[in-house]
Amino acid sequence: MDCNWTEKISLLIDGELSAEEARAVERHADGCHACQLAREDFLLMRQQISSYHAAPNLLAQRQALKNILGEGGASSKAAPGHVGGWRERAAGVFALPRLSPALTAIAALVIVAVIVGVVMLSRPERVEVATNQNPGTSANTNTVVTPAPVASPEEAKANDVMNVEPHKVEKAANKDAAGGRDRHGVDAGGVRVETASGESARHATNLNSNKRREEMARRARIVERLHLPVTPKVSIDDAEMVESELASVSSKLEPSDLGTARHVEQAQVLLRSFRNARTGGVPAASDIAYEKRRSRELLYHNIVIRREAASKGNVAVESLLSSLEPILIDIANLPDKPAQEDMRSITDRMKKKNIVAMLQVANASRMY
């Protein structure tokens, strides 16, 4: 039990009371057991605290003084006699570095940049399939693929060029502002079909790979039998990529007959345009450029629709599109300034097949 005079006892032992106050407290303490106990405890604690001995290291003390007087001590803080224990050393290992604000800001920027980069790279990738007009640049051929079957040896002989020039398949991480929306784009370098890779992969898995390989092998046999100057070289891997792109194209086409009808109509318009350009004499490069570009675009659609018709058992549509496909390939493969003979050979084939009339009839009869 404490007395209200306990604080006075504390002041008394510290000598902070006046002589008169000290005498008054002394008189009180003589008759107050609590104050007597408090004074004993306070004095005992004083003895223990003041007797604390830090065991100074004299060598360290000498060295410290030497460092200070030599002013070299500013850089040598630790005295030689003072060797940090294992706890200090271990604690130093876990000590965090103190970064300056500028360094901290730079580190934060780097971290943010890395995070943004990772997020951007993890977004769905766009795949770009481009067909280029670069004869003789094929490489790494594993399987020869000619996009179009040949109807007859006569037709093949009538054409110097019977194939699509190198199919260059390239991936591009195209960040479309439309964000995930597929689109068709045509540029000077070739037909470009872009789609989300996730969607194309989904459609690619739906294709029968065996059937695809059989068809490619069949085309290769035809080309080999005809001894055609085959230059397009598409590897299996690239072909599979093209197949996936074609699958994505098919997904964008209307699944109904309306899509087929529109394609046939567009092909008809193209062939008429090409034929008319031919009748005007030697066409300028600019005159045929549109037809070439349009032909490449329709070529992909033609392949997709033809396969769809085959899968549905629509033999008439499949046959029609199979006849159309070589024509489209030939037009697409024409050089920028085609020779008159090249133009004539294509129009002769069109005339022989009567392809324009067949397309017109197909549209009129709604055979699909």
């Binding site: 510290d14 830090a54 410290a64 003084l65 200090e88």
Partner: protein
């Protein structure tokens, strides 16, 4: 110049041990924190030397020295609390119980109890009590070192004593009474 350094050396030899003791108790008595007491003491003396020891009035250098040392110790405490608080606790928990010769001296039961008790006090109370009991400074001098009023020093010293007495004094008195009987 030589007389100036000699005067400073005498002052250094007189107060370096007491300053180390004050810092060791202020920083926790033992362990990694107390081990930095000599470094802090050296820094304080170095600042005193740079500030011009000979320009201080008689007796003022000592108070200035303790004030600077205490501020440096507070900085050290802040850093260690943020960096090594958890680590020190873990190390203390798994501390080896085979003390060396120097540590054995320090680890006497009574002293260890005192230092542990002091660690439980708030820093301002601990500093005031240490300056009073070890350095025998008056309340006015303590107020000058700590930068507070004398009234606050009076309250801090009394509260520190009361707290220590509650936690430790009774057992000491009981032990003393048992020994007497």
């Amino acid at each position: 110049m030589a007389s100036r350094d000699e005067e400073f050396a005498r002052f250094f030899d007189e107060f370096y041990p007491s300053l180390c003791r004050f810092l060791a108790c202020l920083l926790g008595g033992r362990g990694a924190s107390a081990a930095s007491a000599p470094d802090i003491a050296q820094d304080a003396f170095l600042q005193l030397h740079r500030a011009g020891f000979e320009n201080f009035p008689e007796g003022e250098a000592r108070f200035w020295l303790f004030r600077v040392a205490r501020n440096l110790a507070l900085n050290e405490l802040g850093k260690r609390q943020t960096r090594h608080r958890l680590f020190d606790k873990v190390v203390d928990t798994f501390r080896a119980h085979v003390p060396g010769p120097a540590e054995e001296f320090e680890m006497t039961e009574l002293k260890a109890r005192v230092t542990e008790m002091l660690k439980t006090l708030p820093e301002h109370q601990r500093a005031a009590l240490l300056l009073r009991e070890q350095e025998e400074m008056s309340y006015r001098e303590i107020a000058g070192v700590l930068g507070v009023s004398e009234a606050k020093v009076k309250v801090d010293v009394f509260r520190a004593r009361t707290t220590l007495r509650e936690r430790w004094g009774r057992t000491q008195r009981a032990a003393a009474g048992g020994g007497a009987s």
